[in-house]
Symmetry: C2
Subunit: 171 residues, 2 copies
């Protein structure tokens, strides 16, 4: 499904059975960013519905041993026919720097384009400097910090990429 | 868009501009159910993405004065072509007992059926006895309480209705 992953890793679409396995890695992978509130926030952003209804546009990367290495949860916007949305992405920190995150994004870009989507949107917390740098490297344009973007006290930075100006695969 | 609402109320599809207005009513309408954790939980279940990408299958009901009276956030499952999903529904408690909630569900059922969807799924917190009774009255079958359904500590009851066995409009 995704060719250019490091040896020993394979990708497939997300499944219902993956839900609690993904939840089990969130705190470790995010290193307690924003403390207990951050932990609750991440868990509540991944209710089971994503693992039931958005599986065909979401990916899970596993080691040959079955351990989770990375995931991307995204969907095609039903209301905006030119747009796709990446909701949540994680890569095991011990695997950072190997291009797995950008490979997942490229796979999602290809999928989005095959469904006629030109733009991909996503967001991150202002505190997540690694995420902000990562999206800039991928070619996303970033908004200023938007206070209360996702609700009271839930500030976000919003990213957009125009795939027609960034042909996949991106270098 | 929805005909059988009480006088003085009109429905339209949800819009991006409604996001913080809906957040502003959550605590009042849910009466602090499950305390501060419940409040944070409800807010995080309604990130802005629902008000951007799922607007065409979601409804807002307003008074002639512009105040929010009710809302329903739902979508057609991309991965399950026979299924639609109701994610979040609220009705101003001062308007309870007037059939507004069931009217919104029936409107969603009609929309879902027009897109070939036979099943509608949704969930609620076990503590929400009013919601459990409401869904039973509408004809939903309920699961037992499912521990950690939406993540660690996030128990849920899951509801399903087979629209082919409950022709719309439901009495």
């Amino acid at each position: 499904m995704i060719d250019d992953l490091p040896a020993g890793l394979t990708a497939r679409h997300l499944a219902n059975e993956d839900h609690l396995r993904v939840h089990a890695v969130l705190d470790t992978w995010w290193g307690g960013l924003k403390g207990k509130a951050g932990s609750a926030e991440r868990a509540l952003l991944l209710p089971r519905l994503y693992f039931q209804h958005f599986t065909t546009t979401s990916f899970l990367v596993e080691h040959d041993t079955g351990e989770i290495a990375a995931f991307l949860v995204g969907f095609l916007s039903p209301a905006q026919p030119d747009t796709a949305y990446v909701h949540f992405v994680g890569v095991d920190p011990v695997l950072h720097g190997q291009g797995i995150g950008s490979t997942l994004y490229r796979a999602f870009f290809t999928l989005a384009q095959s469904h006629g989507r030109r733009y991909v949107h996503c967001i991150t917390s202002p505190e997540n400097v690694a995420s902000r740098a990562f999206h800039a490297r991928l070619g996303f344009a970033a908004s200023a910090v938007q206070p209360d973007y996702d609700g009271p006290g839930l500030d976000r930075v919003a990213f957009t990429i125009d795939l027609s100006a960034h042909p996949v695969p991106i270098a």
